[in-house]
């Protein structure tokens, strides 16, 4: 099967230059542009070359099914599947095609189709399913019996912030490289939706100090990347958490953002758009123990305390990174506990044979 890495690179470059006005994703125009910039940056030449060098056989036909929460989540999957040589169909949410029409229009000769018809998964050799656990289970039922289904269901992420300064990182926007700015930039991308977004911030700092510092950074982030659409249920949940903070902690808010200082007993792992729950924990062990009790899969922990990595790993986190990088990950990484790029091709292991020379 013919690989198409150069065509993928050209498609990426067209996407980087694309006019995104008129693309309805629920994000603000600035928020969408930043999300696309980040996605395109991850598909840089060096990263694509490294992935292309991995041995493996492409699937004939692939289906990528995405949720509406992170409009650019499909791009890296599409790039790698197309680059390997697979035919790809992107099944986007029915009510929200988002970037799909534009991405399809820019695809040139790449064998990429887009649709809102869930039945396309029945024709695929490999299905990449993203979304809620319910949606993923439904997709799995619709796949062909012999298809390979890679499911990426509900997961959540959190941050552990001690206030330590981190080294320079070109991937983090220049004026958001302070400890709290990095976190606000993480929260701003995709409006805090998606499994890599910080839902809860643990800190050993005094709660009021942390809440104030994060509030200032959230205000900066709102000015740079204004929030997009907030759904009624999300808004109601934000007000409910505000009420909780009023009872047990501290609350700060501005247009489009809120920070709620809570206690360990009163916080839940529920990501809400541009709304962060901050919790004082005396140490990373306590924070990690709390996080591990919430049941849902812990994906990413963003932190300025690399020494805490083993603690978070024991708590179930599958990716630990510096703040500012939570939603700006490298292309080849562990995602949901697996090296996801390997799910874009068919690997094989041939073992246990002894070659006997014919007499």
């Amino acid at each position: 099967m013919k690989t198409r890495w150069s065509e993928v690179a050209a498609w990426r470059d067209r996407l980087a230059q694309a006019d995104l006005s008129g693309v309805a994703t629920g994000l603000s125009p600035q928020g969408l542009q930043e999300a696309v910039n980040v996605a395109v940056h991850a598909l840089n030449d060096r990263a694509l070359e490294a992935v292309a060098a991995q041995p493996g056989t492409p699937y004939g036909r692939a289906a990528v099914v995405t949720a509406g929460t992170t409009p650019t989540a499909a791009l890296e999957w599409l790039a790698l599947l197309l680059g390997r040589g697979s035919e790809v169909v992107w099944k986007h949410p029915e009510a929200q095609p988002g970037l799909a029409p534009l991405v399809r229009a820019l695809a040139g000769g790449l064998p990429l189709n887009t649709t809102d018809d869930r039945d396309v998964v029945a024709e695929a050799n490999v299905v990449i399913a993203m979304g809620s656990d319910a949606a993923v289970a439904d997709i799995r039922r619709g796949a062909a019996p012999n298809a390979v289904v890679h499911a990426h269901g509900h997961a959540w992420s959190c941050a552990w912030i001690t206030g330590a300064a981190l080294g320079a990182d070109e991937a983090v926007p220049a004026d958001f490289r302070d400890p709290w700015g990095r976190l606000a930039a993480d929260a701003a991308l995709h409006d805090t939706r998606g499994c890599l977004s910080p839902a809860v911030v643990f800190t050993p700092l005094p709660l009021e100090q942390a809440v104030d510092a994060l509030a200032e950074a959230m205000e900066r982030a709102q000015a740079r990347w204004p929030i997009g659409e907030v759904h009624p249920g999300e808004a109601a949940m934000i007000r409910a958490r505000r009420a909780m903070a009023r009872v047990v902690g501290a609350k700060r808010s501005g247009e489009g953002w809120s920070v709620h200082g809570l206690t360990l007993d009163h916080v839940t792992a529920h990501g809400l758009p541009r709304s962060l729950a901050v919790v004082h924990a005396p140490d990373a062990e306590t924070a990690a123990r709390t996080a591990s009790q919430w049941g849902a899969a812990l994906s990413t922990v963003g932190t300025d305390d690399p020494d805490s990595a083993p603690i978070w790993h024991r708590a179930g986190a599958t990716r630990i990174c510096s703040t500012g990088r939570m939603q700006r990950p490298p292309l080849d990484r562990i995602h949901d506990g697996v090296r996801w790029v390997t799910q874009t091709y068919r690997a094989i292991s041939i073992e246990g044979f002894t070659v006997v020379a014919e007499a």
Binding site: S132, D133, A134, A137, D138, V230, H231, P232, G233, E234, A235, A236, M237, R239, A240, R241, A243, M244, R246, V247, V248, D265, H266, T268, H270, W294, G295, A296
Partner: protein, 343 residues
């Protein structure tokens, strides 16, 4: 029947007496006092006794719509109401399948709850049952289920055919026999029964009650489809729907094509979910419920449901707010059902 209010003492007994009088009087068409006056006094007492409710007061409370409503999510981790856990004679719990804890509604007595629930159900049901056969949890094994508690009030002769693993179809069918009954079911239990057990029509004269929400974590039932299937297959003499919550002490009743009717001691207010400000009349919004019967809990509850409040106080319920997490007594059944479909 006059409720036994001895569980309450002092000013709480006085409030209980006023609430009981409001229930009886309002059903006769002559409430002894204004809803707002009683609501304000009840709120003042709850704010005095419950630090959580007190801390939610942000401005002057001049009328019932000013009373701060406790978001249902807070019940999961905060003590709401006037009853310490050790003093609770009854504790109703919300469905606990999210891993985020279960909301608790603690009562010193169910006397007011029972009095109001029976009185309003008698008003709303076309025929008062002499027995009930239910696709609901058995309240003797699940005293935390407010729904089962309510249905158990309707008839002494009652039977229960729902467990954590789902519907007990054989026993349920046998218990129905050929006599009229009140048949209570959550939406997902009814859907399972219809889909998986090919039931016969109900005996003549049965009232079928559907409750519990249609939006699950795994899939969403279409209410109209379910009602149509129920009418076609089960042919109940009466099909009614009920809307209640663990955190409440009173219930809305309706028929499938009608808005939900609250009793006179329960009012709804639609608010903008983004701001909490009341919606203009006739516009849908997030529902806040004000239940005078909630003496021991919180008079005012903020739901995550969406609806339109009509001028006569009835509510056109639209379901969960977009992107609000699912909850309700249907979920346990839904998950058990879904688990079996996967195997």
């Amino acid at each position: 029947m006059t409720p036994d209010l001895r569980a309450w003492t002092g000013p709480d007994r006085v409030l209980a007496q006023r609430i009981a009088a409001f229930i009886d009087g309002s059903l006769r068409g002559s409430a002894p006092e204004n809803f707002s006056a009683l609501a304000l006094d009840l709120h003042a007492r709850q704010a005095e006794r419950c630090p959580v409710i007190a801390s939610l007061v942000e401005g002057p409370v001049r009328t019932w719509t000013d009373i701060p409503a406790v978001p249902v999510d807070l019940f999961k981790t905060l003590p709401i109401g006037m009853v310490d856990p050790v003093d609770a004679a009854t504790t109703f719990l919300t469905s606990g399948t999210t891993g985020a804890g279960r909301g608790a509604h603690r009562l010193r007595s169910t006397a007011l709850y029972d009095h109001g629930a029976v009185a309003w159900a008698r008003r709303c049901l076309a025929a008062w049952p002499t027995r009930s056969v239910n696709l609901l949890l058995d309240p003797s094994h699940h005293p935390e289920s407010s729904l089962s508690h309510m249905v158990a009030l309707f008839a002494e002769d009652s039977a229960w055919f729902l467990g954590p693993e789902g519907v007990h179809a054989a026993g349920f069918t046998a218990a129905l026999a050929d006599r009229p009954a009140f048949v209570g079911a959550t939406a997902f239990a009814l859907a399972e029964w219809l889909e998986d057990h090919e039931p016969d029509p109900l005996p003549p004269g049965c009232t079928l009650m559907v409750t519990g929400g249609f939006k699950g974590r795994v899939h969403r039932l279409d209410a109209d489809d379910l009602y149509t299937a129920a009418r076609r297959v089960l042919q109940p003499a009466h099909l009614v729907t009920e809307y209640g919550m663990t955190e409440l002490s009173s219930q809305f009743w309706a028929s499938p094509d009608q808005p939900y009717a609250p009793p006179p001691w329960l009012r709804a207010l639609a608010v903008d979910p983004h701001t909490g400000a009341p919606c203009p009349p006739g516009q849908p919004g997030q529902l806040r419920l004000f239940d005078l019967c909630n003496l021991d809990g919180s008079l005012a509850i903020e739901t995550l449901d969406e609806g339109t409040v009509l001028p006569d106080g009835r509510v056109k319920l639209k379901g969960r707010l977009t992107d609000a997490p699912a909850r309700g007594c249907s979920l346990t059944v839904e998950e058990a059902w879904q688990a079996r479909r996967r195997t």
